[in-house]
Amino acid sequence: VTLVLDTPSIEKLQRVFRAAFDCEDSRDMSALRQVDEPLWDSLMHVSLVAAIESEFDVVIDVVDSLAITSFESAAAVLDQQLR
């Protein structure tokens, strides 16, 4: 799948992930995966989805919410939403 999400949106998603996981500003989040991140539990997932919805003014459905298991998949869901 070729992502059409523009660079500012990718940057903003990076900031959302950093803020959600309380990471420093310089950290690249693009490789983050739920299976590798101990802080990414079910509660964090709810907050992360709410954060993405809030920042991009979108509503994420059940299937898409479950599909968000990494930064990359979040970008893909957002890409679909913003098309």
């Binding site: 903003k12 900031r15 959302v16 803020a19 959600a20 509660l43 997932h45 709810v46 907050s47 989805v49 709410a50 954060a51 993405i52 919805e53 809030s54 920042e55 003014d57 979108v58 509503v59 994420i60 459905d61 059940v62 898409d64 919410s65 479950l66």
Partner: protein, 547 residues
């Protein structure tokens, strides 16, 4: 405020006064916390919320509130009717509307008993539960109304998204969290209506049906039957509140002995000793309530005032904005709403022995408190807004039974208390006299024929009466102001004091009147018309032409 903005606000926030409260909702509120803290930080407050474990709202409502804890309930339709919760998968069989409403009412009753609760209602779509789709729509409206009756603030429906709710259990969309958090913090900061201590009630047409000064104690209704039924229920409810420590006071436009007669009769659920004070006078009700507050050493925000008269309510609201004023309903259907609101305002979780003794204690403190005769606020703007039309009828010809009846049944605003016969009126009219009636309408509806005036051919007003239903609206001034500008304007009024006609005695204090000591009050028609031109201007006058 978006997620990143909320984070930035909290990073910059240096701290402020604590704002602790319970944020109660049936889904998860975890993602809201950040937005709530940011919204509070923008007001220099440090929010700290206690939240409920997932899906324990029902249990929390049955629990006793934590003493002094402010509570914000963020409710969905399924918090009233649990069958409507999308996450339960919905009932497979049809439901019964009445059963669902009973369930919803039970939840509403539990909420009404929580004195520090603030309710936000999100009108999320309800699934079809009933066989008839129309009934489903009616049920959703009913649930929304139930929340409204509890004083709930309605949130925008788009703050809910089914997808998010099913996925995460949080009913609020991420895009709406900033806005919803604003509502939550505003509600938490608002002074709660609850915590009221004194219920001041009007008497006529509130504590009983009818007007005791007009109808007498045998003509008013307070028994569980007919017109008195809902007044009986209201009295029983007040009696319950009194037992829970609420102080009851009565304020009435009446003479004291007349106002007290029903309360001393022993026939009603409430008696004189149930009230800390019965204030009967013709002074402004706001002045009476203010004085009562001073005497009880209680702030006006501890008071709730119940009256059926929109003018009295407007006067108190305008003069005493801290007093929570409620209208006694005109229909039976609205009575539960009033009682629920009172239950909420006076709700308390624990009733102590001291609560039960409070009335007697304050009665001792107030013994001998005289009523205040202070004037109230200027109601001109309010009266103008009522858009009143006074229709004056020449009843000298044709059917005059209603005005004759009005003369014979009115006590308070009655020039001399004299009763008349139809024949007697006929003789005055045959001799060239005139008989007027007047009916009043305002933007709320018609008040019917409320004034009668009989004038002899010599210009002597021998009867003038007005219904107490329209006191304080300047009707009497407008009518006489109109009459004073007609041909053959009256010159004198045949006055006699009775033990009930204080209102007309006060009316006759006007400088255009001059008593001669022989029962005649001379009227300077030009002076009266000029002094009361502004009163006349409050009305659209529809008259039969020049008299």
């Amino acid at each position: 405020v978006t997620f990143l903005q909320a984070k930035a606000i909290l990073r910059e926030f240096k701290g402020g006064d604590a704002l602790p409260f319970l944020l109660a909702m049936s889904g998860t509120s975890a993602p809201l916390d950040l937005f709530v803290r940011a919204a509070a930080a923008q007001r220099q407050r440090a929010a700290s919320t206690r939240t409920l474990a997932f899906n324990t709202l029902g249990q929390a409502l049955r629990d006793v509130p934590v003493a002094g804890e402010r509570e914000i309930f963020l409710l969905m339709p399924w918090d009233f009717v649990r069958e409507a919760d999308w996450r339960t998968g919905l009932p497979t069989g049809p439901c019964d509307a009445q059963t669902l409403k009973t369930e919803g009412q039970l939840v509403a009753d539990q909420l009404a008993r929580r004195p520090l609760a603030r309710i936000l209602y999100l009108p999320a779509p309800m699934p079809p539960l009933l066989t008839d789709p129309g009934e489903d729509i009616a049920l959703a409206t009913w649930v929304h109304g139930l929340a409204g009756a509890l004083g709930a603030e309605t949130l925008p429906a788009e703050a809910f998204a089914l997808g998010g709710y099913l996925a995460t259990g949080c009913p609020i969309t991420g895009a709406s969290m900033g806005r919803v958090a604003e509502h939550i913090v505003a509600a938490a900061l608002r002074t709660p209506l609850a915590g009221r201590k004194v219920l001041v009630t009007d008497l006529d047409n509130v504590l009983w049906s009818g007007v005791v000064a007009e109808d007498g104690i045998d003509g008013i209704g307070f028994r569980p039957e007919g017109a008195g039924y809902r007044h009986f229920i209201y009295q029983r409810f007040l009696s319950k509140l009194r037992g829970e420590g609420v102080l009851l006071a009565a304020v009435s436009r009446n003479d004291e002995d007349i106002a007290l007669e029903p309360l001393r009769s022993g026939r009603m659920p409430l008696g004189e000793s149930d009230f800390v004070a019965v204030l009967a006078s013709y002074g402004a009700k706001s002045a009476q309530i203010r004085k009562l507050g001073d005497s009880l050493n209680l702030g006006l925000d501890a008071f709730v005032f119940v009256d059926d008269n929109k003018v009295e309510l407007a006067e108190v609201r305008s003069q005493l904005p801290d007093v929570h004023s409620l209208e006694f309903p005109a229909t039976d259907a609205e009575l539960p709403g009033l009682l629920r609101e009172l239950a909420r305002l006076f709700g308390r979780s624990v009733v102590t022995a001291e609560d039960r003794e409070r009335t007697a204690m304050y009665r001792r403190r107030l013994q001998g408190m005289p009523p205040s005769q202070m004037a109230g606020t200027d109601l001109t703007e309010f009266l103008r807004d009522l858009r009143m039309t006074l229709t004056i009828h020449d009843r000298s010809r044709g059917d005059r039974s209603r005005v004759v009846q009005l003369i014979n049944k009115t006590n308070q605003f009655n020039l001399n208390g004299l009763r008349v016969t139809d024949d007697g009126v006929g003789r005055i009219l045959d001799g060239g006299g005139r008989l007027y009636g007047a009916s009043l309408e305002d933007r709320h509806g018609s008040h019917g024929e409320i004034l009668a005036c009989l004038v002899t051919t010599d210009g002597e007003i021998v009867s003038m009466v007005m219904s107490c239903r329209v006191f304080q609206r300047r009707v009497e001034h407008a009518f006489l102001g109109w009459l004073a500008t007609q041909d053959r304007a009256p010159k004198v009024l045949r006055f006699a004091a009775t033990n009930r006609n204080t209102p007309i005695q006060e009316f006759l204090i006007d400088r255009a009147f001059n008593r001669d000591g022989n029962g005649l009050v001379h009227l300077d028609a030009a002076e009266f018309a000029s002094t009361h031109a502004a009163d006349l201007a409050l009305f659209v006058i529809q008259s039969p032409g020049r008299a």
